[in-house]
């Protein structure tokens, strides 16, 4: 599966060559993986991690995405207490327990998905954000449970559900239980579909594997961030299967739009406005409620 891509990228990052991360070539300067321009890190961050030269979108952490999406101070997180357990005593080159601890320390969060109620230009919504920097945004039991609680919260409060995806796929260290999160989240979306509440997915780089093949592809409306990789099978897996190089732009946000799976491909800075424009059709802004 496409987690493969993530793990091999982790390897590269250890060698200090990973694209999409800011902390590699020195503290002050970053090389854009797309156009090779050397960017001043502070400028890049001020530009929401979009390359000023070519428009390449670097990956965001949960905090960065939240601050770009929710109105300042509006986010009320729920289900924050949930964390994963190593119920299989899974050990590869490391124990799952160790991996969890490391990622929790690195990100300061318990797992790869954060959800809460928020306002987007005043429009209330339940907002869920996946964080690729936590174990490759892999979907385990915590993610599945929190997604379902977010959907249930939307139903209970009669709010739209907005989810930002970023995931390498299923969390192998939870075995078949991780696969079942696909069924669990898809079933929760079905309940939303039976209501009149909108479910909006914003696909960001990368969204692959079991995440794509479940709640990420079931939105009423699909937005995608420019240049994002959106796939079922990761590029490496496909190349190994068909034994040829993939065409440029294959499985990009633009490619998915062209093939009918995405409603709009947007610049990072446009997403919030676009979300508000959509939400306007369904809910009143907070001050008018």
């Amino acid at each position: 599966m496409s987690v493969l891509d993530w793990f091999s990228k982790q390897k590269e990052s250890n060698a200090g060559r990973r694209a999409g991360r800011l902390d590699i070539p020195g503290d002050l300067w970053v090389k854009c993986p797309s156009c090779a321009a050397v960017l001043y890190k502070k400028d890049l961050e001020e530009n929401h991690k979009v390359c000023q030269n070519c428009g390449h979108h670097f990956r965001l952490t949960f905090e960065e995405r939240l601050s770009l999406t929710a109105d300042a101070g509006s986010f009320r997180e729920f289900a924050a207490e949930l964390s994963a357990v190593d119920f299989l005593d899974f050990e590869d080159t490391k124990t799952y327990k160790k991996r969890l601890e490391e990622n929790q320390r690195k990100t300061g969060r318990r797992d790869a998905f954060v959800c809460g109620e928020a306002a987007i230009h005043g429009y209330p919504a339940v907002l869920g954000i996946m964080d690729f920097s936590f174990l490759g945004g892999s979907m385990g039991s915590v993610l599945g449970e929190k997604f379902v609680r977010a959907a249930e919260r939307a139903l209970e409060k009669k709010l739209p559900l907005v989810v930002f995806t970023a995931s390498g796929g299923a969390r192998m260290q939870e075995g078949l239980a991780s696969l079942m999160q696909m069924a669990k989240t898809a079933a929760a979306v079905a309940r939303l579909q039976d209501s009149a509440l909108p479910y909006i997915v914003a696909l960001t780089d990368p969204t692959t594997g079991g995440t794509t093949a479940s709640f990420a592809m079931l939105g009423d409306i699909h937005l995608a961030e420019k240049g994002a990789l959106i796939a079922f099978a990761g590029p490496r897996v496909i190349e190994q299967t068909i034994r040829q190089k993939l065409p440029k732009g294959f499985q990009s946000a633009e490619f998915l739009e062209e093939h009918g799976f995405v409603d709009a491909v947007l610049d990072r800075q446009e997403i919030k406005n676009h979300l508000a424009k959509i939400l306007k059709h369904f809910v009143q802004p907070a001050e008018q409620r």
Partner: protein, 320 residues
């Protein structure tokens, strides 16, 4: 069942060797007219003991090998052995027919059902035609089309799962493999007829789950069901595909392990030596499970079934 020349799996070799010797002795005794009944019976007992012992102590990776056995019965074999008047339905009405998934209407002991399953081949030619049981999006869309028809007519749905996974190809991605699987998960979770899924061979990740969101999910004794193949898991997490044995152990992909984790609802026993050694008995055992399911679910109303199905998947997962 097809009496093709069986190439024994490595761990089956001592058993096959013993049975070959028994056959030799029987021939000898017949040709030379010597009574060797007691020797032969003793050897038969030994073979039986050995087979039982070996099959009770299989390693997870050996079970994976059984689940992938080329002569293991597949959906078409079970349809032929268990159902009557099978009417195959082809095509997703959008793009193509996918021979890696077959399905249609049939009778099970006189009762209307829809049967859908992955289909591999028993030889290379058939395997190529069926893409080794790896569906493209149109396979999942055909399956959904059949399920919706089943719902329309009130037929229970029975799915038979046996795939290495959904096909990771160019066309599959272009036509929305992820969307097709996701759609099936969503629609199966609220399909208003009873649904039974049986993992008969390889339950390969999302490609398996795409037809396996059901009221009861059962596994044949030597079937496997996993989020990722042990080989791929080994190469990603251990960075060594040869670590598939360790990965198979760690993933807990066998039927008894998954039943303990309450991720499946039951195990269907296989004939001695595995389903590939006796298609008829394997089919009979599956038939019994279908029987129990249809009797249990024909009495329940749809709302009750749907609520239970939702809660079953809703409650899957381990966290604190």
């Amino acid at each position: 069942m097809a009496e093709k020349k069986k190439i024994p799996l490595e761990f089956e070799k001592p058993i096959t060797e013993l049975y070959d010797k028994i056959a030799e002795l029987e021939t000898l005794s017949r040709e030379q007219n010597i009574d060797m009944t007691s020797e032969i019976n003793a050897m038969k007992n030994r073979a039986l003991e050995l087979e039982t012992k070996i099959f009770q102590n299989l390693l997870p990776m050996q079970i994976v090998q059984i689940s992938r056995h080329q002569l293991r019965p597949g959906t078409l074999d079970y349809i032929q052995l268990l159902f009557t008047d099978f009417v195959e339905l082809k095509g997703d009405r959008v793009f193509a027919d996918d021979p890696a998934i077959i399905g249609g209407f049939a009778f099970y002991q006189g009762q209307n059902v829809a049967v859908i399953g992955h289909q591999k081949g028993h030889d290379t030619k058939e395997n190529i035609r069926r893409n080794f049981g790896m569906p493209n999006p149109e396979g999942y869309r055909k399956a959904l089309r059949i399920m919706r028809l089943a719902a329309k007519f009130g037929f229970p749905v029975i799915t038979l799962v046996d795939t290495p996974g959904a096909y990771p190809g160019l066309g599959a991605e272009e036509r929305g493999q992820a969307e097709a699987i996701a759609r099936n998960l969503q629609e199966m979770s609220r399909l208003p007829v009873p649904a039974l899924s049986i993992v008969t061979g390889e339950g390969g990740s999302g490609g398996a789950l795409g037809i396996a969101v059901a009221d009861k999910v059962l596994m044949l004794e030597y079937a496997v069901y996993s989020v990722i193949s042990p080989e791929a898991c080994g190469s990603i997490l251990w960075r060594d595909a040869a670590q598939s044995e360790a990965a198979a152990q760690a993933l807990k992909l066998t039927a008894p392990d998954l039943l303990k984790l309450k991720l499946i609802d039951g195990i269907i026993p296989e004939p001695r030596g595995g389903a590939h050694n006796n298609h008829e008995t394997a089919a009979q055992n599956i038939g019994q499970a279908i029987d129990v399911f249809l009797r249990e679910y024909s009495r329940q109303n749809t709302d009750e079934i749907l609520a239970k199905r939702y809660n079953k998947f809703r409650n899957m997962g381990f966290f604190k």
